[in-house]
């Protein structure tokens, strides 16, 4: 298996649901690099991804679509470019309950700008059901402001159908 084969990259802040989303799609249990959280992440969850998550979808002809999840903390951003090399597209997950999801969105769009311009992206807003309903519009405003042709969907990262819809949307814009 080569890291340059067909792959979709999942990114977003800590606790946005990247590992859960990859788990929904992967044909095999996700290989993670989760460790006990010791920093501010501890407020959100006990374990956090420090290198990457990995899963895959095996197609009929034996070809693989690799699913890589970036670590959420931006101090690991040296990993991002490596993971994106040869990627097909980006799935950005944003937690609607975070203090400023629009700012999170803006940050990640800027960080992955080259990759998005080269391929395509889709944004999934998670936990929208327990956040106020202005979050979608706030994220959408960032997209319009930056001129990105990116679909935005509210999803439950634990729900297989929701995550599939996200991938369908990504495929449509690639």
């Amino acid at each position: 298996m080569h890291i340059g084969e067909h792959k979709i990259v999942f990114t977003g802040p800590v606790g946005a649901g990247k590992t859960a989303a990859i788990s929904c799609l992967s044909d095999a249990p996700v290989v993670g690099t989760d460790v006990a959280a010791t920093d501010e992440t501890l407020d959100k969850k006990d374990l956090t991804t420090v290198a990457m998550d990995y899963g895959y979808i095996e197609l009929e002809d034996g070809e693989f679509i690799h699913l890589y999840g970036t670590p959420g903390q931006d101090r690991f951003n040296f990993m991002w470019d490596i993971l994106c090399q040869g990627g097909m597209g980006l799935v950005l997950l944003v937690d609607a309950t975070s203090p400023d999801p629009a700012a999170d969105c803006e940050f990640y769009l800027a960080a992955f700008d080259d990759f998005i311009q080269e391929t395509g992206a889709v944004i999934g807003i998670t936990r929208a059901d327990i956040a106020d309903n202005t979050k979608y519009e706030q994220v959408q405003d960032v997209i319009i402001d930056k001129g990105y042709p990116i679909p935005v969907l509210e999803i439950d990262a634990r729900n297989e159908d929701d995550v599939k819809d996200l991938v369908y949307a990504l495929m449509a814009v690639l």
């Binding site: 097909m88 990116i150 935005v152 449509a172 814009v173």
Partner: protein, 336 residues
């Protein structure tokens, strides 16, 4: 007295109970509804089908059946042309409405033309022969008119409940269900007659019989889902360049039924294009592109860009992964 035979396919005991009451409430003068024995071959003029049963599902798979179907199912499915859909739990008045409409159809002559009230005469005059086969562009036109003029409109769509369109609150009040609005949009047998209501109290009084209040965007999405068979909105042209102001907020049912709409949305946020250019860029059927144009305009998401170069050809960037993407889509749908 015209007799209409009703066949039953796979309906449950509870459906039978509702049917026995509903049949007594069907009120179409000059028509008698006769129920054929349960289990008999489905040879009636109208077939009441439980789509969730094996017999019903198998029957609906046949493409050569010409009878009017009244389909009962747990989840919404778009009924074939001329058929009705009733969502479970089945209510008596839903079944009565479906029978009344089916009987009216048999009773009346086959075709009636769409008639639009006086203030829509410009739009009506511009209709082509093709438009007469589908109400979608005209319905969307009325929604746009109401919203842009902040006006109140009553749209008669006999034999269905009228649609009361409120352009101020951007809502539609009606007794018609969303599946019925689909039917109004996609058929030409429904007469459309528009009346402008002059004041809010007149609107309130008129729409008081409406039991459903839908956000207008919901109705627009549902109407556009049916499709306009490639007929552009009245007063619009295939050569008008437009640009998207923002990506549409696609309802989930659109995601899988109209993935090409996402593709076109992405293209139109990058660059202004006409319907013809968009068709060229995507190589999609012109009908699909026109439906998309109508939808985004009705939702107020597009803006006309007169500065765009309409002569320029869009150079399609062929995705190197297109074969891979189609195989991925196949895999995802197979495991769905």
């Amino acid at each position: 007295m015209r007799s209409i035979n009703l066949s039953l396919l796979g309906i449950t005991k509870q459906d039978h109970a509702i049917l026995s009451v509903a049949i007594k409430l069907v009120d179409v003068p000059g028509v008698e509804l006769i129920i054929l024995p349960d289990g008999a071959p489905p040879t009636g003029d109208v077939i009441l089908v439980n789509a969730d049963s094996d017999a019903g599902a198998n029957y609906l798979k046949q493409e050569d059946t010409i009878q009017t179907k009244i389909i009962i199912a747990e989840n919404f499915t778009l009924p074939p042309l001329g058929s009705r859909f009733i969502e479970r739990p089945v209510r008596i008045h839903d079944m009565v409405n479906a029978f009344n409409i089916a009987c009216e159809r048999f009773k009346s002559s086959t075709t009636s033309n769409i008639e639009i009230g006086s203030h829509s005469s410009v739009a009506a005059n511009k209709r082509t022969q093709a438009e007469a086969n589908n109400n979608t562009p005209l319905l969307l036109h009325e929604f746009i008119t109401a919203c842009t003029k902040n006006s109140l409109i009553k749209l008669e769509c006999k034999p269905y409940s009228p649609l009361f369109i409120n352009g101020i609150s951007r809502s539609v009040a009606t007794r018609a269900t969303l599946p019925e609005i689909h039917i109004i949009a996609k058929e030409n047998e429904t007469r459309l007659e528009m009346t402008a209501l002059s004041a809010a109290d007149e609107y309130e009084q008129a729409s008081s019989s409406g039991v459903n209040i839908y956000p207008i965007n919901t109705v627009i999405w549902h109407t556009a889902l049916v499709g306009s068979t490639g007929v552009i909105l009245p007063e619009h042209s295939n050569d008008t360049p437009v640009k998207l102001k923002s990506m549409p907020r696609f309802p989930r049912e659109y995601m899988r039924k109209r993935p090409e709409f996402l593709k076109m949305s992405a293209l139109l946020t990058r660059k202004s294009m006409t319907v013809n250019q968009l068709q060229q860029a995507t190589q999609l059927d012109i009908k699909v592109v026109t439906d998309f144009y109508n939808l985004i305009f009705a939702l107020g998401l597009s803006t006309i860009d007169e500065t765009a170069n309409t002569a320029e050809l869009y150079q399609k960037k062929k995705s190197k992964n297109s074969s891979l993407l189609s195989r991925l889509a196949k895999k995802l749908s197979a495991t769905g």
